[in-house]
């Protein structure tokens, strides 16, 4: 826990946010929340009460999805850090640290996420609440479940990103692969369009893939689409994937570590 705290502190300490930058980032989050608000408003105007969900719930799902995009964007994370270190050849300094690499990445990324949550996601949520009909969760229990599933969602995303980062160690450049990766993750995670809208085969596929742990499950719990035993089942689903992905990541890392080629030198 000390490790996590120190990385979080470091993030708060050294993250250079430029003034101009910060307001623009906040603005672009607002833009996305605003647009998703309108998309659902128009669509629900055409078909009120579609999929047994109210417009308010749907807007909350969409706006929250956009606000959380500031911390769960798959384009940020350990894979970017690893790729950067590989490119510059600085990865060996990470390996020399008396620190488990997987844990180091987790702590570092958790710190950054917490930093981004408090500086970007939180203000966005407040804006969403004040201006865009973002509703509060149905009750304390539902809110607590949401927080739990959000943390688990973080773990799933981290583990997937870590695996992608390991690909950077093997292929040395993942920049172009990340575009496709980001698109696929956001799609199957239900970041923009919830999984219950997906038709037949795509819906069935999205239901078993781990990605829905990242956005769909926490968001559905938040708006009350998943509650009670259904919510617990969803959390169980997240846990199962975490239990698969973490050992997988560590195993792959162990393999790769032994044949790590550092570029340059």
């Amino acid at each position: 826990m000390r490790l996590f705290w120190s990385f979080t502190r470091q993030s708060f300490h050294s993250s250079a946010i430029y003034r101009f930058d910060f307001w623009l980032q906040l603005f672009s989050v607002f833009l996305m929340m605003y647009s998703v608000f309108w998309i659902w408003t128009i669509l629900y105007h055409q078909r009120p009460g579609a999929f047994g969900i109210s417009l308010e719930q749907m807007i909350t799902y969409g706006v929250l999805g956009m606000a959380l995009d500031t911390i769960f964007h798959p384009g940020r994370g350990p894979q970017m850090y690893i790729a950067q270190q590989i490119r510059s050849g600085a990865i060996d300094t990470d390996l020399m640290k008396p620190l488990d690499f997987h844990l180091h990445m987790l702590a570092r990324h958790f710190g950054e996420t917490l930093f981004r949550f408090s500086t970007l996601a939180l203000p966005s949520l407040i804006i969403g609440y004040l201006f865009l009909d973002l509703q509060l969760p149905a009750g304390w229990a539902q809110g607590l479940l949401f927080v739990i599933s959000l943390l688990l969602g973080f773990m799933v995303l981290f583990s997937l990103n870590f695996l992608l980062g390991l690909l950077a160690v093997v292929t040395l450049d993942i920049r172009s692969i990340t575009w496709a990766y980001n698109g696929i993750v956001r799609f199957f995670a239900g970041q923009m369009v919830p999984l219950w809208v997906f038709p037949g085969f795509i819906g069935a596929l999205a239901a078993v893939l781990p990605f829905k742990s990242i956005f769909y499950i926490p968001l559905s719990i938040y708006i009350g689409r998943l509650s009670g035993s259904e919510a617990w089942q969803a959390i169980g689903f997240q846990l199962v994937w975490i239990c698969v992905l973490i050992p997988l990541g560590r195993l792959a890392w162990g393999r790769i570590h032994s044949r790590l080629v550092v570029q340059g030198g």
Partner: protein
Amino acid sequence: MISVRHLTKEFKRVKRKEGFLSGVRNLFSAEYTIKRAVDDISFEVREGEIVGYIGPNGAGKSTSIKMLSGILVPTSGHLEVNGIVPYKDRKANARQIGAVFGQKTQLWWDVPVIESLRLLKDIYKVSDRQYKRNLEIFNDLLELDTFCQTPVRQLSLGQRMRADLAAALQHDPKILFLDEPTIGVDIVAKEKLRTFIREINREFKVTVLLTTHDMWDIEKLCSRMLIIDHGQVIYDGSVEQIRDTYGGSRTLVVELEEEVADFSVPRAELVKSEGRKKWFRFNRLEASPSDLITQIGGRYPIVDLTVEEPEIEQLVRSIYQGQGRRTEVM
């Protein structure tokens, strides 16, 4: 050739706040400080001179070189390069100067050197004849032909520097700015670079303004030295004079075959000792390195040795300490 009078350059910089949540506090306000990077300097450089332009990091060297090459506009003062005011006519100035920045190459990273040269030929409108003649000279003096088909990213630092020099010289500039041209280059390659710079200065009367941290560069190349610090010229004169006045001390570094206890040598002072390596400081007027080497070598077998010139920083420090004598020197 170069004339600089009362040249001043000021920068406005954002003051970053320190401490916890500094990032957050910076979101709301910013403070500025004004830094005078070049502070009222004046000097002349005559045609055919090689002038060492030295000073500690941040002294204002690169700022003034940037003004001379037309990248920066001065805050006040006057400067002229071969009759052209660089910031008023950047392109005309660019045609008559060449510049090499040791830290970053100006060549295209992923393509063979020769392709960069061909492209620069077009950019500078170099005639075919001039291009061919210069290529021969470069092949001759820089052995360019041994690596001109290699992409720049695969060159050694020394080769890269030679390629950069060729690129900077193929349009026959009258003035050459060299910013740390030997930084990070090994001894043999350094020597080659120096020979080449001397050669083009002698043969083609190219005026050279050179910044460096390597005192040997100055020693071997320059007749004159300009030392600046805190944006001001603190010395302008011959290299010999400053060496005699301030830079008398040198350090002999010997690496012995095996570890021995500290020992003393007449007319030299043991200043540092680290395992098999010993540092002896001596005054070049009182002792010669060869004497010292014979003395030490007579006692213990020597594996390796170098003679270190005083560092620029040390030189600047001794100039400050000897402020009283400054007028005599100048």
